[in-house]
């Protein structure tokens, strides 16, 4: 299934758009999505260490605006947000 990954903060450097799209297996977990993103950085950005670090330290949020764990299964959520380390105010 196709999912849309909404980009925020430093993760916006991964694309000129506000999002990335990935094809993933049904019931993939956030952990698997994270691996997919790391592979994407390997392919598109020659394994850029800064980008990898952002992905490794990011949380993810579901379409209904909950921060979800690495075990969360992506079943019907077609939209996931990546939440890099925060620091506003």
């Amino acid at each position: 299934m196709k999912i849309k990954l909404e980009l925020f903060g430093a993760s916006r450097e991964l694309s000129n758009k506000d999002y990335l799209e990935f094809n993933i297996d049904e019931k993939s977990s956030i952990k698997e999505l994270r691996k997919k993103l790391i592979s994407f950085v390997d392919d598109k950005f020659k394994g850029n260490d800064n980008f990898k670090k952002i992905i490794e330290t990011s949380a993810f949020c579901s379409e209904d605006n909950n921060i979800v764990s690495d075990n969360y299964k992506i079943i019907k959520d077609k939209k996931i947000g990546i939440i890099p380390p925060i620091g506003g105010g």
């Binding site: 925020f8 921060i67 890099p84 380390p85 925060i86 620091g87 105010g89």
Partner: protein, 148 residues
């Protein structure tokens, strides 16, 4: 009583007068207006401005949670709170966040104002991209969000 909003700087701006109006009530004897503004130096680099990014829905949710928590954690039930945070480019000296609180007594108002800004820093999904004099820019590192 809570007002919580993300201000898209391309469309509108933070206005202190709106917050004063919102928290004004004869039942409150103490009010504090806190503003965060863009500083000209950070870690020895000359800053020219900051671009703020935000996950709007999650930020509003976090503001609401912080407001509700203060009932039990600080035991402050009678209060008015106005929170606005900017998203987009903000120049030097301009306001990025405004927190206005009003309570019956000053000790509660100080505690509440401090609690809200510290919790926002820890929990609200807001990001800063600093712009420097040499035309460079970078996203600040920040703190990872805890997952359960």
């Amino acid at each position: 009583m809570l007002h919580a909003k993300i201000i898209d700087i391309k469309k509108e701006k933070i206005e202190i007068s709106k917050s004063e109006q919102f928290i004004s009530s004869s039942k409150f004897g103490a009010s504090i207006i806190f503003t965060g503004t863009v500083r000209d130096v950070n870690e020895n680099k000359k800053v020219t401005g900051i671009t703020y990014d935000s996950h709007d829905d999650l930020v509003i949710k976090s503001f609401e949670e912080i407001y509700k928590e203060s009932d039990d954690k600080l035991l402050i039930k009678d209060k008015a709170v106005f929170i606005e945070h900017v998203k987009g480019y903000v120049g030097l000296g301009e306001i990025s966040i405004l927190i206005a609180v009003a309570c019956p007594h000053r000790a509660e108002a100080y505690d509440l104002s401090r609690y809200i800004i510290e919790e926002i820093k820890k929990r609200s999904p807001i990001w800063k991209k600093e712009h420097y004099e040499n035309a460079e820019s970078e996203w600040l590192k920040g703190n990872p969000v805890q997952t359960t």
